[in-house]
Amino acid sequence: MNRRKLSQNAAFSLFWAAGIMSVLIMAVVVGYVLVKGLPGISFDFFTTSPRGGLSGEGGIYSTIVTTFYLVVVTLAFAIPPGVGAAVYFSEYSGSTVGSLTGKLVNLARFGVDTLAGVPSIVFGLFGYAVFVTAMNLGFSILSASMAGACLIIPVIIRTTEDALESVPSGYREGSLALGANRWETTWKVVLPAAFRGISTGILLSAGRIVSETAIFFVTLGGSYRVPHSLMSGGRTMALHVYYLAMETRAFDRAMSTAAVLVGLVVVMNLGINTITGRITGKQR
């Protein structure tokens, strides 16, 4: 009996150690980047553009602008088909089992699952092959955002579907009983009720675009100038970290840019947790 108790204590202390270790790793990564990066950040850092060249001098203004444009354009490409697909899966696919449409639904689901597993450099290759070269759009925000949309469409579909499914079925039944048809019910009742959950998914996707590097490494070109149209190339903050670390001597500036990125990610995570917390809180 004593030995069993002893082995339980030994095992449980290892599990505690694992849990503590994981939190420590997070704290060390985030802490290191913030401690090393924050001192290099000033007002000028945000308002001046990188000067280019080996020294890596200058701030990150143009990279903020590029990141912002890229997120907005990518979301514009990804939200309509993403939310549309989720609405179809959640609201329309129920009565189609066994029919031809049912087979299409299975095919569509398979497509979403497959797309979610594609490694991002393959999206990059695809974007390079189709948008950059075949369609002759060059290294541009347009090319990059279309490639980036492929990455986040599955994310939007999954989160939106979860949000739609958490709308109580009584809402739908009530609306249908009052004579509204399926589309009116979806548009005027279900979507508004799921609005918060859908926004969370969109925020999450925006975070993925801010964090992504591989796709934009091969579709966005990497110019450090401020983009002036959809056809301009550019570099996001994440790409800027890469270029600074690998191609200049400005490792400290890479660290400062990384600190801005990490700060942004932490804020976005807190935002998402607050929104979802409020939703679950409301349902209780």
Partner: protein
């Protein structure tokens, strides 16, 4: 039936529009496959698929396009990441699911989830600043810190949140009766975890590991930053076979990213071929994980 009112008309149009949206993903997958494989075809045709994947020499300048070195590079880095990251992830998963008091789990879980949100380029930078100098202190000929070990450590941290959260879910979804039955029979909590919960959650845990594997294989930028990027077969530099982990290497993903912007002709096509190999590998891995998950549900 009757005259379509405006409402019915909108309803029908929207149903079609939504169905088309649902099929967008399929269209994208097909396009990706067609274009990547299409651009890879010349390389496969001129060099031969088998020659490409079995030859270790990658020298675009002299027309040699063997990608076995990169397959091995991706393989060994992923193996290292799994060896380092999976025990920690599983330990954390059991901790969160069974051991930690709810308020501690409530603080630990978001901390680990935060790791999933950190951009891979930040991991690469952290690797360059912290991990590489640490690895450099290991005395071995030619060890500059950049190599398989540094890459594996960075990747281990990157797959930690994926493996932890899916494994925790698997352990939590074991029916409560299993746990209660085991405890009622006089087993200790640890015996219950080891003999009942972990075996019952095994399909889910294995698929968590496989998904982590997929994530590791697909990682690009963090790898380029710490692995040294030499297109050579990783090899031991001393009598100690473990020194293979100090070797420089290149991953399949890194091979594409580093060279695509200036490659032309067969060289470019060979990079698309690298993409096809990567795509197929990851599809195989992900579908085996999905299969296991389905089994686990039954």
């Amino acid at each position: 039936m009757t005259f379509g009112t405006k409402r019915d008309c909108t309803q029908k149009i929207m149903r079609t529009v939504l169905l088309v949206s649902a099929l967008t993903s399929v269209l994208i997958v097909v396009l990706i496959f067609v274009f990547t494989a299409g651009r890879a075809a010349p390389a496969f045709h001129e060099i031969g698929i088998w020659k490409m994947v079995s030859d270790t020499t990658w020298r675009p300048g002299s027309g040699e396009f063997g990608i076995l070195a990169m397959i091995a590079g991706s393989g060994i880095v992923t193996l290292g990441a799994v060896l380092l990251g999976v025990p920690l992830a599983l330990g954390s998963a059991v901790f969160l699911a069974e051991i930690a008091p709810e308020w501690i789990a409530g603080a630990v879980r978001p901390s680990i989830e935060l790791l999933a949100g950190i951009p891979s380029v930040v991991y690469g930078l952290f690797g360059m600043a912290v991990i590489v100098p640490m690895v450099r202190t290991i005395p071995a000929p030619g060890n500059a810190g950049y190599g398989v070990l540094s890459a594996s450590v960075v990747l281990a941290v990157m797959i930690l949140p994926t493996v932890t959260s899916i494994s925790e879910l698997a352990i939590r979804s074991v029916p409560a009766g299993y746990r209660e039955g085991s405890l009622a029979l006089g087993a200790t909590k640890w015996e219950t975890v080891r003999r009942v919960l972990i075996p019952a959650a095994k399909p889910g845990i294995v698929s968590a590991v496989i998904l982590g594997l997929g994530r590791a294989l697909g990682e690009t930028v963090a790898m380029i930053m710490v692995i040294g990027n030499s297109a050579i077969l990783p090899a031991a530099s001393t009598g100690n076979p473990l020194s293979i982990f100090l070797s420089r290497a290149r991953t399949l993903t890194g091979n594409i990213a580093v060279e695509i912007s200036y490659a032309t002709g067969v060289h470019e096509s060979a990079l698309f071929a690298t993409g096809v190999v990567l795509f197929v590998l990851i599809m195989l891995i992900n579908s085996s994980a999905a299969l296991l998950l389905k089994k686990g549900v039954r």
